[in-house]
């Protein structure tokens, strides 16, 4: 069985590094991009089992990327990761189609636990 594929979209190098390395250590195959436009393209052309998507990024906002993926029928679940913690922002992200919303700063172990829950049945 191949390892589940996770896309990490995050422009903060520290956050991106921590998520990528922790998920790799947990047995996932991770692709990381640091720009909204790159994320849009990668998500349109490659298949993932899950996406961790930052909201504030250069190029394109996370929510816009999510909207375009949904409009194009991209099937993977998306967890939003954001320092914007207003109730309205969380609700908006969930309405657009995010399956979960993680507020920054976050516990890396908690993020991995949430990813595992979402990928139950997919492995690793």
């Amino acid at each position: 069985m191949s390892r589940p594929r996770v896309l990490v979209v995050e422009d903060e190098r520290i956050v991106s590094f921590l998520l990528t390395r922790t998920l790799e250590a947990a047995g996932y195959s991770v692709t990381a991009v640091d720009d909204g436009l790159d994320a849009l393209e990668v998500g349109m052309t490659e298949d993932f089992d899950l996406v961790l998507l930052d909201q504030r990024m250069p190029g394109l906002l996370g929510l816009e990327v999510l909207q375009r993926w949904k409009a194009a029928g991209r099937p993977f679940p998306v967890i939003m990761v954001s320092g914007i913690t207003g109730e309205a922002d969380v609700i908006q992200a969930l309405e657009v189609g995010a399956v979960d919303y993680i507020r920054k700063p976050f516990s890396v172990q908690e993020v991995v636990a949430r990813v595992k829950v979402r990928l139950l049945g997919v492995g690793p």
Partner: protein, 396 residues
């Protein structure tokens, strides 16, 4: 003469060339240095990240780079980015590196810039063991140090620091007091008990603290806020009334209703809004009366609150027949802005007379109250607006 000009031009060209060349070289060196610094920083990010992922909190590298300013900067960035157990471990690591003791030393004895920098760093680290140093810094002569120390205390979040923060608050100018109040808000519910006690005293910034208690929204502040409604300080009554809109329970409603008769219109206006936030039906007759208040803000807030309270919307419809034109105008304005008028316009074409007739009644009254332009803008033919204004007709 011509020869002299020629030499002058050659000289100027040469000088320009030397200056441009030098600038180019300086720029290139700076670019290279920036690139080198960025690479070095990225190396530290990866190095620390790897240790965090592996949980190697005793790694020698932390000691090796303990005095490196860039390594320290990256450590602080990590502390800003992560939460939970990993953060706790990193705080302990910064302690082990001597960063914490160095910053607390600077905070107590450094020059102005060192104290500001130390307070900022300690705000990032948020180590509970630095609490006495941060309380000490609340009395610093530099406002930015005091503000950063207050932020650090809020990040630590231990309620025992709140009293010190409130004592310091009274010694601030208005600008700094606002920033300290922001820090107070950062404590959340841990700030409520001491802040409520502050309200019952004679503190200089009681209105600001009342506002902060409203933002925190913890009902444990209710008693102190209700008590503050009796204050002779108008600003405190205004803030306390507004705060009870967020931090009150049904118990505070009768006090807010009484406040609708306050001498000051700002107090009445805040009370009207707070009653709406409580969504308590007891407020409907009081708010209906407030539609005739002499102050526009009170009328407007009362109408806006009636939209929120069960039974209030019907009261707003009825207010369109109010003998006071100001009350009619306040009701009509809110019926428009709340979307009720737009909904009624949509219901005009309903097959169900129980839906259509009340909608017709509302639209006609709004048009007669001078709001015809709203319906024209929403797409109603001007001729129909005119007909409805002059007695109405069945619209199908």
């Amino acid at each position: 003469m011509t020869e002299a000009i020629r030499y002058l031009l050659i000289g100027l060209t040469a000088t320009f060339g030397v200056v441009a060349g030098s600038l180019f070289v300086v720029k290139a060196i700076r670019r290279r240095l920036r690139g080198r610094l960025r690479r070095r920083k990225n190396r530290f990010i990866d190095m620390i990240g790897e240790l965090v992922v592996r949980g190697e909190w005793n790694a020698r590298v932390f000691k090796r780079y303990a005095s490196d300013p860039m390594f320290r900067e990256v450590m602080l960035e990590y502390l800003r980015m992560i939460a939970g157990a990993d953060r706790q471990h990193l705080v302990e690591v910064t302690r082990g590196m001597g960063m914490v003791s160095e910053y607390t030393g600077e905070l107590r004895g450094g020059d102005r810039n060192e104290r500001v920098r130390a307070a900022e760093a300690l705000a990032e680290i948020a180590d509970p063991e630095t609490l006495p140093d941060l309380v000490f810094a609340l009395a610093d002569s530099v406002p930015e140090v005091r503000i950063q120390a207050a932020a650090a205390l809020a990040n630590i979040g231990e309620g025992r620091a709140v009293k010190s923060l409130l004592v310091a608050l009274d010694k601030q100018d208005e600008g700094s007091a606002q920033r300290l109040a922001d820090a107070l808000y950062g404590f959340g519910s841990a700030a409520v008990e001491e802040s409520a006690r502050y309200l019952t005293g004679s503190g200089k910034y009681r209105p600001l603290v009342a506002r902060t208690l409203g933002l925190i929204g913890d009902i444990q502040a209710e008693d102190a806020l209700i008590q503050a409604l009796d204050s002779t300080d108008q600003a405190l009554r205004i803030r306390a009334a507004a705060a009870l809109g967020r931090a009150g329970t049904p118990r505070s409603v009768p006090y807010l209703l009484e406040l609708l008769g306050d001498d000051q219109w700002e107090v009445r206006a805040q009370a009207a809004t707070a009653v709406g936030r409580r969504m308590d039906q007891r407020g409907v007759p009081w708010l209906k009366r407030a539609l005739s208040d002499g102050a526009w803000w009170v009328r407007h807030n009362a109408a806006a609150s009636l939209v929120e309270i069960p039974g209030g919307r019907e009261a707003l419809r009825l207010a369109l027949d109010h003998p006071d034109p100001y009350a009619r105008d306040a009701a009509a304005a809110v019926l428009l802005s709340s979307g009720m008028a737009g909904d009624a316009m949509g219901d005009l074409t309903s097959d169900d007379p129980l839906v259509r007739n009340p909608a017709m009644d509302l639209v006609m009254k709004l048009i007669r109250a001078g709001k015809g332009a709203f319906f024209v803008n929403e797409g109603m033919p001007p001729e129909m607006v005119r007909q409805l204004h002059h007695g109405g007709q069945t619209v199908r």
